[in-house]
Symmetry: C2
């Protein structure tokens, strides 16, 4: 495998967007270390995130930008933007309030795979009632 | 946006592989909470990860499965497999030793984007010399 050393060892920020113009982004709670969600950004979303200090993603299903919290009020204040070795994944360290997942859970990762590899265990309770936050 | 409640609220494990048969996977240190890397699995890699308890991914560049650590010895012991709300991203909680990134860093996320949005700051030192681990 040929590796471009300047991408991995350099100090130029050159995020690698995929064929659809997207890069995967992980949001992690700066304080607790909890991984909150995974989403995508396009160049415009990344630019807006950097300029405003609030995490803005690109919704593939809706085909448009969305600032996390624009509907629920649960914004993500961006403390730090990290990029991985080959610059094809972004990690946001964010400060958040309660309830980051639209299902009502603090994190989107609220279920664990059971040893049977077919079913899931709920490992977290909801922290808010999504029906009261999001219009149906 | 139409949401399939059974995917988000149910207990059936139905990982959503993309058009290329892949699902993104985040590996997080169970003990420290540090996000170590991001990679992809296909169904076979996921199956092997569950069966062996060692994280196995699918390398897009090499077009084959790779068990993390098969070359370096730095395996990832899988403690827990979490799935997100819409079941299109996996979070692995793993127990690891020192040095998870092939560059020699503990995590692949060793650089932060500076306020100029163009350059990077190294926020971590290497924990091993990759030239001594990986053949060139």
């Amino acid at each position: 495998m040929t590796v471009d050393k300047s991408i991995e060892e350099g100090t130029n920020f050159t995020p690698k967007f995929d064929a659809n113009g997207l890069i995967p982004v992980i949001a992690q709670d700066s304080k607790t270390g909890q991984v909150l969600m995974s989403a995508f950004m396009n160049a415009q979303a990344l630019d807006q995130t950097i300029k405003t200090g609030r995490a803005t993603y690109y919704s593939r299903s809706r085909g448009k930008l969305w600032t996390k919290g624009e509907q629920s009020g649960h914004f993500q204040k961006v403390d730090q933007i990290l990029i991985d070795c080959d610059q094809d994944c972004i990690l946001l360290k964010v400060t958040v309030d309660s309830g980051q997942c639209h299902t009502g859970h603090q994190s989107c990762f609220y279920r664990a795979v059971k040893p049977d590899a077919k079913t899931l265990d709920f490992i977290a309770k909801k922290v808010f009632d999504p029906d009261k936050v999001y219009p149906t």
